[in-house]
Symmetry: C2
Subunit: 231 residues, 2 copies
Amino acid sequence: MAALLAKNLNTLAGESGDYFRIALSVDCAIFGFDDHELKVLLTRSDLGEFKNQWTLLGDMVGFHEDPDQAASRVVKKRTGLRNLYLEQVHTFGRPDRHPRGRVVTIAYYALVNIGKVRLNAGTPDLDWHSVGDVRQLATDHRLILENCHRRLRTQGVERHLAFGLLPPKFSLAQLQSVYEAIEGHPLDRRNFRKKILGMHILEDLQEMEKAVSHRPGRLYRFRGLIPGTFF
Amino acid sequence: MAALLAKNLNTLAGESGDYFRIALSVDCAIFGFDDHELKVLLTRSDLGEFKNQWTLLGDMVGFHEDPDQAASRVVKKRTGLRNLYLEQVHTFGRPDRHPRGRVVTIAYYALVNIGKVRLNAGTPDLDWHSVGDVRQLATDHRLILENCHRRLRTQGVERHLAFGLLPPKFSLAQLQSVYEAIEGHPLDRRNFRKKILGMHILEDLQEMEKAVSHRPGRLYRFRGLIPGTFF
DNA sequence: CCAAAAGTGTTACAATTACACCCATGA
DNA sequence: TCATGGGTGTAATTGTAACACTTTTGG
């Protein structure tokens, strides 16, 4: 069967006859938001060459598996969450990128509500890291993370993705804090409220924050679907 | 050697043990501009199931080859042009997308000056097609083309990519015509000139169009590098 | 009553849009 | 002299950015 497949693939005419041995993986930058900072979920590499270095979460793509599904599977396995918005960002395929041979990886990012995540205890040192503090990662994962972060930043407020990072009920201050963390600079409060409220994407819950040691903020929820998610 | 690689790859822990048999290809939407229309270079499929259907230009990625290089190689082989700007757009990997087995493809787009292209005679029915007229393509190439075209449209004037579609000397009317073809709607002439000239990216060549049956336009050339290209 | 964050409008500036007439050339 | 497209400026509108004081709560 493998030989037959190889023969078929060879009829596709490439420069070399051995391209069918390329392995395909997915790597996910799973972003969360906590303590006014953008976080990314990392674990420890299990590659000897990169032992003890941090890496994004990934896995090989199964032979009968859609890469998008492989990415969902990775996120589900490590965080317990399903039906998240996952966006494909870029495919990294330099021949020398992986120490164990030819592995091409498709990078995705996901946005999760950090409070809902039950971290999978079976994953070594699985934990959240401030994106700004990440230094070295195994193989080319720093490059991959930078690409995912840039994509997230340039996606813009209009795509409403940031709501995936928040609990269902939130204040405008929390929402602003999310955008500040993503964009990396402070925003003007009045202009931010004007803009967001003018979009009519928030439903006023007629509720207030509780037990805060200052004037409580009004709570809202997001009106409308986040693409790829079901609430 | 193949068995050793497979064994190594199996240690990467996937759902199934046969992911290493996934084949990887590149497919290129090569855009050109002519007769006030955005064109794309197509050829005839050599897949029995899609015989006589049009397809984008692609090839398998060699085992030791960077996908970006594979895309350059494809463009060079069919058009004779090298050092073009090529942008990776998306990776398509549905398990059922290809009739000859598991082939995941990385899509790229390129912008070429159609006048410089010497079409490779060895490619069946290789020719330019108006993007707006493209109906059915082999496998999922219509989807791939739509993705590449959308990426090109949303890239915006600021990225200066459209210059790749023009000869070195061009008039503002030609440039405007390119943007109109890409964006799919007419633009106001005065506003367009104001915007482009205000960018200071054009050098006035102090030359005029020749042999046109109307008032000749001033010729310009692009000042500065198109990313990924050398002039 | 103090600290801390919520809530609220107006003005200046920049960017974008809409719009109409004269000019240079070849046929 | 006509047809064709080149070349030009201004006013209205819209969007964005800057900016300070009052309110509500818990401690």
